[in-house]
Symmetry: C2
Subunit: 383 residues, 2 copies
């Protein structure tokens, strides 16, 4: 079958063996497969990505010399699906192979879906419900990434969320935050086109970070943050109020004190840029008690100022991936219309045009998510 193979930074359509399913596995005819930022990483920074995965205990992420079929955001139909698997399906991109479990589209052991067919685990396969179109269903995987990040962010009621960087993952985070009922979502990106997409996905406020701080924008939208001097005043003031009620029993008084002394609530920031310096910029400009969910993958070493992070009680929560339950929940958010995936899909390309699509994705004004469709003609078409 035909597939796009990445090797030594080159992308090339090759004829490769069709997948052969073992027990518990299925073969999908690919309908659509999204091009992901980590595919761009895999092409040009494979060693750095593989080193980081190795540090976490996964030894088989692709190296530059490996010939790997990329593609892990896919929707397809089960070959010979019969009654059990009728219509489009999606699958979490992991398969049993070579004595372990491997990441589809990111290792030689598990070829991906920039191809006519792809191998999946039946246990990780989900029927696409509600007549959701395959193009939209192909966004299940990046939506699961966004959903997991939002879960890890634990945005409390009334706390604003700020999404820094509106690439496909940042836009997915905007969509999930609004689907989850977060009231104030501020989205920040230098690109007008990306800000328009953030708006379309429900962002309440969009800012160009070159012109306005997203934290100021959150305040403009009604958020209230404390600085250290205000926090000190609150601590003393709340105790003075409590001590002015001598008739209440201490236990009760201190229950009140705990409420009063719970500390400030900063915003939850979703960092979806992933370049050196962005964490330090956020730490320096954030209000007290800001929680930063680090979704953007910065491959280089980075410098932070711990003393400022401490004085502000900043949290940095680094996130990756999702659970099977989150993958399924993402599919349902899309299928139930909670997130409009069509907003994100900007283009479609055949296998022969993948290289062209990678290049086009460098311009945020033109494209957000491009889908590879092995049945389409080669060249990139805007949708």
């Amino acid at each position: 079958m035909r597939a796009v193979v990445c090797q030594e930074g080159a992308l090339e359509v090759r004829d490769v063996p069709a997948p052969r399913p073992a027990r518990g596995q299925l073969v999908l005819d690919v309908l659509a497969c999204g091009i992901c930022g980590s595919d761009l990483h895999a092409r040009h920074h494979a060693d750095a990505a593989a080193d980081a995965a190795q540090a976490a205990g996964y030894d088989d992420l692709m190296r530059p010399g490996d010939a790997v079929v990329l593609g892990h955001e896919f929707c397809g139909e089960v070959e010979g699906g019969g009654r059990r698997w009728r219509g489009p399906v999606v699958a979490m991109p992991m398969v049993r192979a070579a004595g372990g479990v491997h990441l589809t589209g990111l290792t030689t052991h598990a070829p991906g879906a920039y191809a006519e067919q792809v191998l999946v685990q039946e246990s990780l396969t989900f029927a696409v419900p509600n007549g959701l179109a395959p193009d939209a269903a192909a966004l299940t995987e990046p939506t699961a990434v966004a959903l997991h990040a939002v879960d890890r962010g634990q945005v409390a009621r009334g706390r604003p969320a700020i999404v820094v960087g509106c690439g496909p993952v940042g836009l997915g985070v905007v969509g999930v935050l609004k689907a989850r009922g977060v009231r104030t979502v501020v989205a920040s990106d230098p690109s007008p086109a990306r800000r328009a997409l953030a708006r379309a996905l429900g962002a309440d406020v969009v800012v160009d970070p070159g012109e306005e701080s997203p934290f100021d924008a959150a305040v403009g939208a009604g958020a209230r943050f404390l600085d250290a001097q205000q926090l000190f005043g609150l601590a003393v003031g709340s105790m003075e109020k409590l001590r002015a009620v001598p008739l209440l029993p201490w236990q009760h008084v201190f229950r009140l004190a705990e409420a009063a002394g719970a500390g400030p609530q900063g915003p939850v920031v979703f960092e979806c840029v992933g370049v050196p310096g962005i964490l330090d910029t956020l730490i320096t400009s954030a209000p007290l008690a800001t929680r930063v969910v680090v979704v953007g993958v910065c491959m280089a070493d980075d410098v932070i100022k711990p003393s400022i992070a401490i004085n502000k009680e900043v949290d940095l929560r680094f996130v990756l991936g999702y659970t099977p339950a989150e993958f399924r929940a993402a599919l349902h958010l899309l299928a139930e219309g909670e997130i409009d995936a069509n907003v994100l899909v900007s283009g479609r390309v055949g296998l022969a045009g993948v290289e062209e699509a990678f290049a086009a994705l460098a311009d945020p004004e033109t494209h957000a998510k491009v889908l590879v469709d092995p049945s389409a003609p080669g060249q990139l078409v805007r949708t």
Copy 2:
């Protein structure tokens, strides 16, 4: 009255005006005041500490040229206490002054307790219960710092805690963790004397980090951590198990899936060293899903590898200070014998010996917490 003044890095006993209480304030005759690591910072790195506080919105932390009476970990008796304030008291070190609320012992607006007397807010003052000795009560403030750090760490049932660095704060964290019922506490410090103190405060395992990784020690003590390959196997395996039970309704199956898919639980690490490089060392050597509570104050810029933190889903939670409720809770942990403060107190010194005590604290083998007692003779005495 006599007090130890810090200015341009020098410590000097001077005659200073006695405190004059405004409405809502009390004057304490100081019985004991602990020497804190931040006093050492204040002496030699005042500008860096003041810059970090300023970034968080507190503008008045001492600068090198300021003449400041240090000391914020104190126990005293209320001058003219009468019936309301009989016996020893402690107070949260914040006072209203100069139109704001200021940090006692760290600014010119709020002289500290390396002195015969100190000014406090009545609303932040707590009678010492249960006949707790003033020396032990003086440890309320650092114990509150430790308690706040443990609160922010949210150590889940069955999750091990690892305390890296057994200075007074790290030792306080060990004590609070055990008081809170955390089952496995591993304490790590190169100093044999500090490891012995950690043991005395209840650490289940102590390690010399030069000889053994505290993470390995936690595994030796029964902790189970997953690496990425094991996590992938768990995700697929749990879904295979669930799919093998076709008779259960989907809703129920997915409740199980969520439980199975909750992800790995790493240890909670309390970083109590505060030197450049320690965060990167922890990120690099930690298992998946490690939560690092950053208690140690590193004043220099620091380099981390975000890509490894992401692949491991590490959390960095930076912490500082405590609430009034936590301050009171710390006093009660000490007074109820949940933490034995006497273990920590290694010496006592008069005002004239504070400089000697600062020097002696550089050697972890000899001293942990030294108390300043304005009624004692000058020189440092081991207790």
